[in-house]
């Protein structure tokens, strides 16, 4: 019997469209190419409604008049009773599909941040990629850095605050920021794909620019991070997969045209290329000194383990190429298009990649089954008897 894989994508996130691409290239396309699975696309609209239709296995479904097409579809119902079932209402009663494994393909909020993983844990269904805890921590850049710092992983100095902090104690934070070395990077804490990030150069009106940048970041998020820039900067990234024994892909250096890798660079300027959501402006493997490469690999694996990642993730690094210092910048638990181009270059074909990820999902699920979550207790009876007294 073919296993049924539910690929979940879209969602209430600024990275909604990117998620649609990731879901199709490579996930759905590769799963279909194996011929081994029933692939059920599960699409969450920008308003949070759930849909499923076989036509959604083709990315063209999402290209034109999506709103009109969605209006014609009935929304899904979910059954979370010991396994995940989706029910698609139809004129002759609803069609019930049992999902054996879930393949999340969501980026950012309400998906990659652990929300979806929580739901899937409740349903007791195996799913691909990082679990709830790693996803939730990695989604918060501040929390990630705090944990890594506590474990001795080098990270760059920063100042962080919430919207409320900023409104009530702005001067205090501006004072703290003065201790950081320019250029500064202002980031919304929870967003990926470089959305809402601004670089502030040490110019005459740097403070005005800084305040503007913070306002921009606060527009996207409740929590903002102001980070010190690294000099002689070389940015690299390292995709990793596996559970207890992580497998490293190649170190990749994005060769972006503008000063830093923003949303436009990452997803839009390479739109004619066929490599999924990642364009071609990168060097794989990165041409960096062997000692630095070793350091990157060591810190990558360590970070993956400290955060409790499983399935797949990508660790981003900042390198001072003169002082030979490596800093971990952030962790992405569902990299765009699961970084298939890098895996391919590292000897893992698309089909191989999705099949391995499914194996890791099943492996983790089996292990969790062996953990006991029930405990026979007399506490209820005792409680009752105490009340009866």
């Amino acid at each position: 019997m073919k296993k049924t894989i539910g690929v979940v994508f879209g969602g209430r996130s600024v990275e909604h469209e990117v998620s649609i691409i990731t879901a199709h290239n490579p996930i759905i396309d590769s799963l279909l190419a194996t011929g081994k699975y029933n692939v059920v696309p599960i699409y969450i609209g920008k308003d949070g409604s759930w849909y499923s239709d076989p036509a959604m296995n083709d990315i063209n479904f999402f290209r034109n008049d999506l709103e009109e097409k969605l209006k014609k579809l009935k929304k899904l119902q979910l059954d979370l009773n010991n396994g995940l079932q989706i029910m698609i209402p139809g004129s002759l009663g609803s069609k019930k599909i049992n999902i054996d494994i879930v393949f999340p393909a969501m980026h950012g909020t309400y998906g990659e941040d652990g929300s979806l993983m929580g739901l899937l844990r409740m349903a007791n269904v195996p799913f691909v990629g990082c679990d709830l805890f790693a996803s939730a921590v990695a989604m918060d850049k501040v929390l990630t850095k705090q944990i890594l710092k506590a474990e001795g992983v080098p990270v760059v100095s920063d100042v962080w605050f919430t919207k409320e902090d900023w409104e009530s104690k702005r001067e205090g934070y501006l004072h703290k920021i003065k201790n950081l070395r320019y250029p500064l990077f202002i980031k919304p804490v929870h967003l990926g794909s470089s959305i809402g990030i601004t670089k502030i150069n040490p110019l005459a009106d740097q403070e005005k620019n800084l305040i503007n940048a913070i306002e921009v970041a606060l527009h996207y998020d409740e929590k903002v991070l102001v980070e010190e820039g690294v000099e002689n900067l070389v940015e690299v990234t390292l995709p990793i997969m596996g559970n207890d024994e992580p497998i490293l892909a190649s170190i990749e250096r994005p060769l972006n045209k503008t000063e830093f890798f923003d949303f436009q660079d990452k997803y839009l300027s390479g739109s004619k290329k066929v490599g999924g959501v990642n364009n071609n402006y990168s060097e794989i493997p990165a041409n960096i000194e062997p000692s630095l490469a070793e350091k990157v690999k060591e810190l990558g694996e360590k970070t993956y383990k400290i955060l409790g990642c499983s399935g797949i993730a990508r660790v981003d690094f900042l390198i001072d190429s003169v002082l030979n210092q490596v800093f971990v910048n952030e962790v992405n638990t569902l990299p765009g298009s699961i970084y298939q181009h890098n895996w391919k270059k590292s000897g893992v074909s698309n089909i191989d990649l999705v099949e391995r990820l499914i194996k890791f999902a099943e492996g983790r699920f089996e292990n969790q089954k062996n953990t006991t979550y029930s405990f026979n207790s007399e506490i209820l009876n005792q409680y009752k008897s105490s009340k009866n007294q």
Binding site: A33, S349, N350
Partner: protein
């Protein structure tokens, strides 16, 4: 059953017109194809109907006929009574798709008959214009490699001369006439690709063009379905040499590596006519009566082909081209030879040669983000082309090589032999993966592979589309994929 029902599909009229257009309004070919179709709703897959005036007109006619025949069927219910009315209705209903088919064929025939005299006027005009045109005219004929030859000669000459060549695959009298219409009149060199589909075709084209130089790229099994035997193909292609024999100062370049072509050329030599002067070309260089141009140090890899062309008198021509494969040596040598005979300086010739690069879908390399190399050779649909593609793969080391093919069409009674041979060559070369599309000819390739103890893996796909979408998901860094040939709809 599916075939029967699909004749009642709403796509039926469009499919018929598409099929007519794809068979170039040749009714015999069209009816032949009609018999082979299994599902009329799925004929238009690789290409789509191009809305020319003729096609639009026929499309409107097809729909009218389709509706009319059903209208007659329904009307019969009123004309007749009782069981008989139902019977007549059923008979007409069953024959409605055929009624549409045959009436549409008749309309096409009538349209063709009206069109022909008009075409003749256009062609005669072109002929007249060419007769008064002072340019040197080069005609290229052969079963394969015409477009490549045309493009190479054009690229090498155009840095020094005003050159025009027939566009794309326009190689019929009408296509050439339209090209002639577009000429300014001050061109110095005109290059024509000449297509052969039936006996007499090349002769007709020669009468329009009146070439001064001929190039015969080779004779093989291409279009054997129409020519029936290879001797007839050779005779048709050599109509070019026959024409040149009637004109003074002409010469013809003949591909020495094509057996049928060099045999036919030997016949001309034996006839001892003063013209055309026969010049052979190939991997070894150029052989002409007076002396030879020898090829030295030939090399080919994924970045191109290079060699030195040594001439008795002068220093050699250094050839560095981005074209892939040693089979490009011949055409590059021909282009150099023609350029030299036109008095073009050595540096200019070398620069022109440097500008030659792969043409679309002909041994055209590209690399994807995952480091997978793809050589697109999808316009290559003939046995000699397949041979050179496999030979090229032989030169590539340290890569996992995939050879992807749906086989070749129009091979007539040679079908089994040609495909077995491909399988055997692939096995001999030690290709790692052979990817086959399931159809009537690919099992012969598999048989050839087995015959020569193929050690690699054979991967099957049910359709080209499935193969194109699936393969990129199975490949990794440093893999080399060569896509050879793509079947048009009328053969699948």
């Amino acid at each position: 059953m599916k075939k029967f029902l699909s004749k009642y599909s709403l796509k039926y009229p469009r499919s018929l017109v598409y099929m007519l257009q794809a068979s170039e309004y040749n009714i015999v070919e069209f009816l032949d194809w009609f018999r082979r179709v299994k599902d009329f709703a799925k004929v238009e897959e690789r290409k789509t109907l191009v809305k020319t005036i003729k096609a639009s007109l026929l499309y409107a006619i097809a729909w009218n006929l389709f509706i009319l025949s059903f209208a007659i069927a329904i009307a019969s219910l009123w004309f007749f009574e009782g069981v008989r009315s139902l019977l007549v209705f059923l008979v007409i209903f069953l024959f409605a798709p055929y009624l549409t088919l045959y009436l549409l064929s008749l309309c096409t025939f009538l349209l063709n008959s009206v069109q022909r005299p008009i075409e003749r006027i256009i062609i005669n005009k072109a002929k007249e214009k060419l007769q008064n045109h002072k340019a040197l005219k080069i005609g290229i004929a052969g079963s394969f490699g015409k477009t490549t030859m045309k493009e190479i000669i054009k690229t090498v000459l155009e840095g020094s001369k005003n050159v025009a060549a027939t566009p794309d695959n326009k190689n019929t009298p009408l296509g050439i006439a339209r090209f002639v219409e577009s000429l300014d009149g001050d061109e110095e060199i005109l290059i024509f690709e000449m297509g052969e589909y039936y006996e007499g075709d090349i002769k007709k084209l020669c009468e329009i063009i009146s070439p001064d130089i001929g190039v015969i790229t080779g004779v093989n099994e291409a279009h054997l379905d129409k020519f029936k035997n290879i001797e007839r193909t050779a005779k048709t292609i050599f109509e070019l040499a026959d024409f040149l024999s009637k004109k003074e100062g002409t010469k013809v370049y003949v591909n020495k590596e094509s057996r049928s072509a060099s045999e036919s050329a030997a016949h001309i030599k034996n006839e001892n006519k003063p013209f055309p002067k026969v010049i052979y070309y190939g991997h070894g260089g150029i052989e002409e009566g007076g002396g030879n141009w020898k090829v030295e140090g030939a090399e080919t890899n994924l970045s191109g082909t290079s060699f030195i062309l040594k001439n008795n008198k002068e220093e050699g021509v250094v050839v560095r081209s981005k074209l892939l494969g040693l089979h490009q040596i011949g055409p590059l040598a021909v282009a150099s030879h023609i350029a030299q005979s036109l008095g073009i300086k050595l540096e200019k010739i070398e620069l022109g040669l440097k500008n030659t690069k792969p043409f679309k879908h002909r041994m055209e390399p590209r690399e994807d983000a995952g480091g997978v190399l793809v050589i697109d050779d999808s316009y290559n649909g003939n046995p000699d082309g397949v041979k050179v593609a496999i030979e090229f793969l032989k030169e590539i080391k340290d890569k996992r090589r995939f050879f992807i093919t749906p086989g070749l069409v129009e091979m007539g009674r040679k079908t089994e032999e040609v495909h077995r041979e491909i399988g055997k060559e692939l096995a001999n070369t030690g290709i790692e993966k052979v990817v086959l599309i399931r159809n009537s000819v690919t099992p012969f390739i598999e048989a050839g592979l087995k015959e020569n103890n193929f050690k690699g893996e054979v991967i099957w796909f049910e359709s080209s589309l499935e193969c194109f979408s699936s393969l990129p998901k199975r490949t990794i860094n440093n893999d080399l994929l060569l896509y050879q040939n793509d079947w048009p709809d009328n053969y699948s």
